[in-house]
């Protein structure tokens, strides 16, 4: 079993990434001075970003793993259920209605939850969720909500658009540590709950009939898992906006490297995705400092070539 070795390596990498994340930035601070005087404030801000990055990485990647396995669709990803456009729409409406900025995360969360409820109910037929209907409903709701966003923005002009930007491209700039801990709760508990279903996920990924023949109540477990991933995604959207790529490609990359067994895949992916997002965030704020590049841009530009190399190599490492 390479599991332990890989776990240790990824753990060390995460440690290194965190240290880099703390000392590098618009201002570089040597490790020894990190806790001294005024540096303390910068340290706290950077630490919050790193925590956010770890939550976002693990949460999105694990949600992607789950949705790809239960829907048996390689294009499944955390925003599939319309969460991203739902959150975006709610945020735009809130801005136009003149709601205080403090309440934007709450509005986004509610918007995400609302869109999940709509998509889920559209896909349900006689108590059964069919995979294809769920995917199609998600796509339709996303398109409708996105069009409404564009419609509202073109009516009400730049003000709303400006507020929207960080949402659409994602940012880990978090000022409110209370919000982070509020979000950490559902994300961490959700990932732990998903891990307990790893053997069920293995079976369901083979097909619904196969899983039924192994004694698994597939409909109930699918519903629970969809609900958990929706909750994780909606929570993350309200602190970081929409960060593409992580939830779609990182699961594929990790499956190529460590295989599809969810008992191994889930913990290793949490670590790898955390390293990935911490480093991407570091680049997003240092590459053209003091200008910050949206992290969604970085994740795509760095992740895509890595993924293509793995795909072309075709072999597991």
């Amino acid at each position: 079993m390479y599991f332990k070795k890989r776990f240790v390596i990824l753990f060390l990498l995460l440690g290194l990434a965190i240290i880099f994340g703390l000392i590098k930035g618009a201002v570089n601070i040597p490790l020894s001075n990190l806790l001294l005087g005024d540096n303390r404030v910068i340290f706290n801000l950077r630490l919050l970003r790193i925590i956010a990055a770890i939550l976002v990485g693990s949460g999105l990647a694990v949600s992607g793993i789950v949705l790809q396995a239960i829907l048996r669709n390689p294009l499944a990803e955390p925003y599939l259920l319309g969460t991203s456009s739902g959150a975006g729409l709610a945020a735009v409406v809130a801005v136009i209605a003149g709601v205080s900025r403090i309440y934007l995360p709450l509005a986004a969360f509610l918007g995400a939850v609302l869109s999940i409820i709509i998509v889920y109910n559209l896909a349900r037929e006689r108590g059964i969720i069919a995979d294809q209907s769920l995917i199609l409903s998600g796509v339709i709701i996303s398109v409708v909500f996105s069009s409404i966003i564009v419609f509202l923005v073109s009516l009400f002009g730049n003000e709303a658009m400006h507020e929207m930007n960080w949402w659409l491209w994602g940012s880990l700039q978090v000022y409110d540590h209370k919000l982070i801990f509020l979000v950490a709760l559902p994300v961490v508990l959700g990932i732990c709950a998903i891990y307990l279903f790893s053997q069920d996920l293995n079976a369901i990924s083979m097909g619904e009939d196969e899983a039924k023949h192994l004694g698994i109540n597939t409909q109930a477990i699918k519903k629970i898992l969809i609900l958990i991933t929706a909750l994780i995604t909606a929570s993350l959207i309200c602190i970081c906006g929409i960060i593409g790529f992580v939830g779609l490609i990182v699961p594929h990359m990790m499956r190529m490297v460590v295989g599809p067994n969810h008992k191994i895949l889930i913990p290793l992916t949490c670590l790898a995705a955390s390293v990935f997002v911490v480093l991407c965030d570091l680049l997003s704020r240092t590459l053209f400092a003091p200008v910050e590049i949206p992290i969604g841009v970085i994740t795509a530009i760095i992740g895509a070539p890595v993924f293509i190399i793995l795909l072309k190599k075709g072999k597991r490492i």
Partner: protein
């Protein structure tokens, strides 16, 4: 020789129309029952109805006198295993990982496999002659090896009754015989009761102790190979002419096809 499974007048299907229209059939302990019938006669649907993959619209299935719908699904799967036709099309698990999934019915929620489960998985790998493959990925295997691994997973469920849907459909004749010999061995030595769909009527004749011939969702004839595989029955159901002789080695019926234009 008690009755293990009583199928009582069941009906069911996918859309409005029933595909299975009132089938009754008993499976006796130690049976090697082969289900045959033309394409679309409802063989796979029958197996899916009986194994609870598809809901019954009428009738009931009793396992040792107990209504299977009242059995806990995991308990059901500890007694009855199913090898489907296109098994293993998902991600590429290793052979060991796949066979360990057969232990799921024996595990409680939130319980991971113990040493004993791994021991049982190894034992089934040995039994199906796939132990040397245990660390390979499923997509590295040949069709014959893959089929034996899928059978090993079903055996890891430690069932008393094993259903198989055309286990030999992707195999050449050598591997067909190999897979069926394995099942015969399990049937004879380990007392595993087997219900299997086969397309090849000569293979059905050679291995089955009983055959059920399906036609348009009902049982046309069930009985010993000699009783079922007559040229009248085959012509009535398959709309084709065959000669029925005797396999010189097994003494079982042997069908010879008669091509047209002759």
């Amino acid at each position: 020789m008690g009755i293990m499974l009583e199928i009582k007048n069941i009906s069911g299907g996918y859309y409005k129309e029933n595909i299975i229209k009132g089938i009754s059939l008993d499976v006796t302990r130690g049976d090697f029952l082969v289900v045959i019938g033309p394409n679309g006669s409802g063989k796979t649907t029958l197996l899916r109805l009986v194994t609870r993959a598809l809901p019954l619209r009428k009738g009931e299935v009793l396992y040792k006198g107990q209504d299977t719908l009242h059995m806990n699904l995991k308990e059901f799967c500890r007694r009855i295993a199913f090898v489907s036709q296109d098994a293993s099309t998902g991600f590429s698990f290793t052979v060991m990982e796949l066979v360990l999934m057969g232990r799921i019915p024996h595990l409680k929620r939130l319980q991971f496999e113990s040493k004993r489960d791994i021991e049982i998985a190894r034992e089934k790998l040995m039994l199906t002659d796939t132990f040397s493959l245990k660390d390979k990925r499923m997509d590295e295997l040949s069709a014959g090896e893959r089929q034996r691994v899928i059978i090993a997973r079903a055996l890891a469920q430690e069932p008393e009754l094993l259903f198989l849907d055309e286990p030999t459909s992707h195999l050449d004749i050598g591997h067909q015989i190999q897979a069926l010999d394995l099942l015969k061995k399990l049937n004879r030595r380990n007392g595993l009761t087997i219900v299997m769909i086969l397309h090849d009527l000569n293979l059905a004749a050679a291995y089955a102790n009983r055959i059920a011939l399906l036609d348009k969702g009902v049982i046309f004839k069930a009985g010993t190979p000699e009783e079922v595989l007559t040229y009248q029955n085959i012509e009535a159901v398959y709309k084709t002419i065959v000669l029925v002789g005797k396999n010189p080695v097994t003494g079982k019926p042997n069908l010879v096809l008669v091509p047209g234009e002759n």
